[in-house]
Symmetry: C2
Subunit: 401 residues, 2 copies
């Protein structure tokens, strides 16, 4: 086998690629056609703008009357933001940089919320000066900053949810406990701000509409308490959590959206302005990464699991594999035959740059160096997570089509 | 207390900074002077080139006759690499990008090793064409690639160590088990390569020389077996693992280096060429990051631990806090009084961007938004780990002085 491998190697990686092709491709037709027509020397995300705009329209329709505020951090490609502005999308920004991106792309400042509960005071003042009038907060200290640098602004208070059923409930980093929401609204009002509503996040990858129910019940309790105290709430921000497909079954978008809104209506009644902040759910499935196998080896000839090293890793775009959180799906040019368990690792000299080891993944036994790999549904949280040049490797290359 | 905070905030963050100063500064005098004289709007690494060159000289002296091959990935600032070339340092590169950096800085190709056991075939050929003649490998499949694209090259085989006493033993990503080293050397020779030696890594943060003993014993067994079989070994690469101070006691550099070399001599006898690859141990203590507190809050008034949010996090330079691995030390402008436990988090909207939570850190009870923070000994593994623009935040800014 080793001798045969050597012969195969002697023909060079490009010859291997000519001989091998993708058996199936679970990516958009446009992305597949583009990848088939191009060779990529570096890991490259190919992103289908039409698919993302289509996802926006589906979300907008299924979640109506909620307004879609796209979570820009999921994928801030300027071309994408321009297309979404043109389609009528609104935005949730995490920083001054993201707000500037939206405004540069033609977004109306009244349609951009500053959703980070942790803001630089300089950025608050800058946002306010540029017409942003909707801010998140979850602590008196943040309300103090807003009261000074954006006096009179509309603010929603973020609730820390306790009953997430998501695949990946968020940490306790953001949000105030339920019993602190009313004190924070009073504090905001006492300091000249306009407490207009609440926000929350059901958790990443909430795969079925019904999983929203416990969190919506929790949030509705706070909402009705605030109204009972005389707060004229007008903004209900139901956040993100809209799923992408990574292998586990996900409810279809139309049924999902209408299902969520049915629960929202039942719990909240008439709300003047509902906003939803899909990020992953809007862009993940629009993109796929073209990568390459650098090495396939076994530590010992008798080992069952092989080590597969790719030219992309934790520090060059796949940061969401930290703690093996997001389990990506792979197509390879060696697909179609027998598979076996693999430990998947990135190209850097960093010993921590291992993608999947606790739960090895199945890859073709025929896989070898030079084979091409497509990493599916990688349109979200990949490009801007990439490091500037760790180990001398460039950031993730992006092509928008 | 809240009212007082509001008054304090009303004076603005800059006024706070004028009132407060650093009580003590455990950083180099040059860095302290530069930080005192400048205000930083963004998180900034201030890096003392003279200190790094001094560390190189100390390591070279204490580890003599070993040659220092600086692990470029720890901090690839071109100014630093140029200074190290001038001082006589040699280099360990992880990629074509890092090799090019060293050659551009004036390094002799014969003094640069390609130490990544996972290489692109194009990069192997490119390196060989540019005069690189020393490569790492740990698998027959990698030797196949070298045999074709760098025929006749000198190669050392990386040993997977089993007896690390380091604070952070490496994962099993790199290296072959002891019983596979000789088969790999035979394979290399049979394929026209020149197997000249072995390498290993004792693990990150090996804080005392004596901790090297079990690994050196392990490696010496392989070394002498190979010589007994007739391999004329000439390169012993003892790798990295040289520590920096992050709070736990670390042996002083001179005693540490001579201590390691005493054990090396006792186990290996005369070796034509010993190479050591310090990264962290050469640059970490030369730099400190200037950062800022964005928010200090409690989830509930009765909570003991506060949440402290900085303008730098996991995705903007502090990636080594993943799994709370490296525990940085902090100086703040509020130091000097009472302290209490804090959960430390970054500025992004990412719920995973929490630096220390399992083991909260002690920070001043007087700490508040606008206070300045110096993150100590951050000259290694910070700049190039930073993301290109996650959440709209820029990469870590660097000033070399």
């Amino acid at each position: 086998m080793l001798a045969a491998d050597t012969v195969a190697m002697a023909t060079g990686a490009s010859a291997l690629n000519e001989r091998r092709a993708f058996v199936s491709s679970r990516i958009t037709d446009k992305v597949a056609a583009y990848m088939d027509a191009h060779d990529f020397d570096e890991p490259t995300l190919v992103f289908d703008l039409d698919h993302a705009v289509g996802s926006y329209r589906t979300l907008a329709q299924s979640l109506a009357p909620a307004h879609i505020h796209y979570a820009v951090k999921a994928n801030p490609e300027p071309q994408l933001v321009r297309r979404l502005v043109a389609a009528g999308c609104r935005f949730d920004a995490a920083s001054r940089g993201e707000i500037a991106l939206c405004l540069d792309a033609g977004a109306d400042a009244r349609h951009v919320s500053f959703g980070n509960t942790v803001k630089k005071v300089g950025d608050i003042a800058w946002a306010r000066a540029h017409g942003i009038d909707l801010f998140a907060a979850d602590a008196t200290e943040e309300l103090d900053k807003l009261a000074i640098h954006a006096p009179g602004a509309r603010v929603y208070i973020r609730l820390l949810v306790e009953h997430s059923q998501a695949d990946w409930p968020l940490s306790r980093k953001f949000g105030a406990p339920a019993e602190e929401i009313l004190p924070l609204m009073r504090y905001a009002r006492a300091h000249g701000l306009n407490p207009v509503g609440i926000s929350f996040h059901v958790g990443s990858q909430t795969r079925r509409a019904e999983m929203w129910r416990p969190v919506l019940t929790e949030a509705a309790g706070v909402w009705h308490d605030a109204r009972a105290e005389g707060f004229e709430l007008e903004v209900l921000n139901i956040g993100g959590g809209f799923p992408a497909f990574y292998g586990d079954e996900v409810e279809a978008p139309m049924g999902y959206g209408t299902g969520v809104m049915d629960i929202v209506r039942a719990h909240f009644g008439d709300v003047p302005y509902i906003m939803a902040e899909p990020g992953r759910g809007l862009v993940a499935e629009a993109g796929a990464i073209s990568a390459e196998v650098l090495l396939v080896s076994r530590k010992r000839p008798s080992d069952i699991a092989r080590w597969v090293y790719l030219n992309i890793g934790k520090f060059s775009g796949l940061a969401e594999t930290i703690d093996e959180a997001i389990r990506y799906q792979f197509d390879t040019t060696a697909d179609g035959g027998e598979t076996g368990p693999c430990i998947l690792a990135g190209p850097s000299c960093d010993s921590a740059d291992v993608l999947y080891e606790q739960r090895p993944i199945q890859m073709p036994t025929a896989l070898r160096a030079g084979d091409r790999v497509r990493i599916l549904n990688t349109g979200a949280y990949t490009t801007t997570y990439a490091s500037v040049g760790f180990n001398g490797f460039p950031p993730l290359h992006v092509v928008c089509i």
